[in-house]
């Protein structure tokens, strides 16, 4: 265990190294660039490779290639870059390629304000790639969580053979905080399952009980097939309902049925709360500050904070808001994730508090809206 004083971006990079990163490919984009620069300086000394590509499209495709060569691989970007990456994200989902993508949100649409924050992209990150799938997305609220959730992102991506997204923002990216760093064996690191059968019996997409197929990589003699077309267990293209249904449902279910392994959320004083605030990422810090303030004035307010944004842990959400008279969803955008909350909490009064603030919504700004309802 050691103490460091790092920014959110540094912590993501540091965590990636601890998790066993061996390949980073990227294209510079504010406010994610420090992840790239930190790794460019450190990763080569740990036996890894860092490459700058001609664009984000090349970067994520190279990451997918490196992952199939057996390396833990990642990239980082922001909105405009992520928009370019989504086709390959769909490829990673289809080919069950482990990788981590750090998405540091900035104010948009389009070029927006490159250095300033917002949480506009929580729906885009979930739905931008084509096809049907479940995507694993974590949202940290502190530098420590940037570190912890990045390690978790790598572990989940290796365990389930899925791309995992770490959703940060410009504010978190650049704040400095104390971080406790633990390395293995103090922290557990998961590596992908390898085939247990010889080549002639190996099928690259034949799942085990957990719906995850063991992964042979290039150069290991298994003659793997990475296939972007709809494929059977051998990786052979088959345009039939039977194969399509089996594949798509397995890709969805391998995330949903393993939800207990990936779920992560935090609550604060929800047990007796009349009002529960729901917030994620840097905005949750403001909601938390407000709750501490209101509690000191005797108002019973609590916080539910999903760290796993997608797929939302519906059971945890329901349990954490069960006694609340009203639920408030605070976001640094026009109010988008609230739709997901309202979908689950159909019988509750769910109030959206959308605050666009290029730094982070302040507790006062939140209370300004909230006081009308309590």
């Amino acid at each position: 265990m050691r103490l460091e004083y790092l920014t959110g971006n540094h912590a993501i990079a540091e965590a990636a190294i601890i998790a066993g990163l061996k390949f980073y490919a990227g294209y510079p984009i504010t406010p994610s660039t420090e992840i790239f620069e930190y790794l460019a300086s450190k990763l080569p000394t740990k036996g890894g490779v860092v490459l700058q590509f001609e664009d984000e499209i090349a970067s994520i495709n190279a990451v997918i290639g490196a992952s199939w060569a057996g390396a833990k691989a990642m990239t980082a970007t922001s909105g405009p870059g992520f928009s370019l990456m989504v086709e390959a994200l769909s490829l990673a989902i289809m080919t069950e390629t482990p990788l981590v993508l750090a998405y540091v949100m900035r104010a948009g649409p389009s070029t927006g304000i490159a250095t300033k924050a917002g949480q506009y992209d929580v729906m885009q990150v979930r739905w931008a790639a084509h096809g049907n799938y479940e995507l694993v997305v974590y949202a940290p609220w502190s530098v420590q969580e940037c570190l912890d959730l990045t390690i978790k992102a790598f572990n989940v991506s290796e365990m389930l053979r899925v791309p995992v997204i770490l959703l940060s923002d410009a504010t978190l990216a650049h704040i400095w905080e104390r971080v406790v760093i633990r390395e293995p064996p103090e922290v557990s690191i998961v590596n992908r399952k390898k085939p247990k059968v010889p080549r002639d019996k190996y099928k690259p997409y034949e799942p085990e009980e957990d719906l995850v197929p063991p992964m042979a990589c290039f150069g290991e003699g298994y003659r793997v097939l990475v296939e972007s077309l709809t494929h059977d267990e051998r990786g052979y293209y088959k345009a039939t309902n039977e194969v399509q249904r089996r594949l798509v449902w397995r890709l969805v279910n391998k995330v949903l049925k393993n939800k207990h392994l990936i779920s992560d959320s935090a609550t604060y004083l929800v047990d007796d709360a009349d009002y529960v605030l729901i917030a994620y990422g840097s905005t949750a810090r403001s909601a938390y500050a407000l709750i501490r303030e209101l509690r000191s004035k005797g108002i019973k307010v609590g916080l539910y904070r999903p760290k796993l944004l997608w797929p939302l842990d519906e059971e945890m959400l329901i349990n954490s808001t069960i006694k609340a008279k009203k639920v408030f969803v605070v976001e640094n955008n026009v109010g988008v994730y609230v739709r997901e909350i309202s979908r689950v909490l159909r019988n509750k009064e769910v109030i959206s508090i959308p605050i666009i603030d290029i730094e982070v919504p302040t507790p006062d700004e939140i209370f300004e809206v909230m006081k009308e309802w309590i």
């Binding site: 190279a62 793997v224 097939l225 296939e227 052979y236």
Partner: protein
């Protein structure tokens, strides 16, 4: 898998016959590529397990479905970056990218340019049939001027891209042009490309009787084949200046760049 044909050990024979139309040149290229690989393997330079083939989307890209190597059939235009990811992590792999002119030169053009600039240690084989085949005959950046396609119904107004000239202008080790009318040359050039470090690029002029042939009035594979053959000139040391493809007149085959500079991998890892 039953091995009958001498190249069957490199094929997933249970998936044959392949999807390519009768007389399509892609099969000729793949056959020549496998003989080149076979020669290297029989000479002990590498093994079948060391070969990785990567392709994007398109008729040519379907090749990886049939190849009995570690293979990847990824997304349109992005085979090269995938291949680079493979190569830098497993430098011992012989990484071959196979694609059509749409895949490699149009949507993937930027990756071609930058991987050549890096002298990245991969071999790119571009099968140029001068048209989009899989989607039914649209104009490609390689389509000759004036040619009718389904998206240029009044004739193509654009100059075709000369890939030989483009790639030769970059920091690459090997640039050659072959043609399906001369399978021995395809084999020799691929063999030569795989014998060195750095970036190697082979353009193979091919025939697409079903689509391109139909557009230009040569629906019969043999007639189109013979038409192409009539334009082909081979030169032992061709100059870049004569690399423009003038459909109907002259297509010069040969090794345009033939060097042995250190590739990217050597710079990255040392020797």
């Amino acid at each position: 898998m039953d091995i009958i044909h001498p190249l069957d050990r490199y094929l997933r024979t249970d998936r044959l016959p392949h999807i390519w139309c009768p007389g399509c040149g892609i099969g000729i290229v793949i056959s020549a590529m496998l003989r080149a690989i076979d020669r290297h393997i029989s000479e002990g330079h590498f093994t079948q397990d060391d070969v990785a083939t990567v392709s994007g989307i398109g008729c040519t890209a379907r090749a990886t479905l049939y190849l009995n190597f570690d293979s990847a059939h990824v997304i349109h235009g992005r085979a090269i970056p995938f291949a680079i990811g493979l190569k830098v992590i497993k430098p011992n792999l012989k990484v071959i990218v196979i694609g059509g002119d749409g895949d490699i030169a149009a949507i993937g053009g930027n990756h071609l340019l930058h991987s050549a600039r890096r002298n990245m240690d991969i071999t790119v084989i571009m099968v140029n049939n001068m048209v989009y085949g899989m989607t039914g005959g649209q104009v490609a950046p390689t389509t000759p001027m004036k040619v009718y396609t389904t998206t240029t119904p009044y004739g193509n107004l654009e100059y075709p891209l000369n890939l030989i000239k483009l790639v030769s202008s970059l920091n690459t080790n090997y640039v050659a042009r072959a043609s399906v009318t001369h399978p021995h040359l395809i084999e020799r050039y691929i063999y030569n490309a795989l014998s060195r470090d750095g970036f190697s690029f082979i353009e193979v002029i091919s025939i697409c009787p079903e689509v391109f042939g139909r557009h230009i009035g040569f629906r019969n594979p043999v007639e189109l084949f013979n038409k192409l053959k009539s334009m082909i000139k081979f030169k032992a040391k061709p100059s870049i200046d004569e690399s423009d493809i003038v459909w109907g007149k002259e297509i010069v085959l040969g090794e345009y760049v033939n060097e042995y500079k250190s590739g990217f991998i050597k710079l990255l890892y040392g020797s």
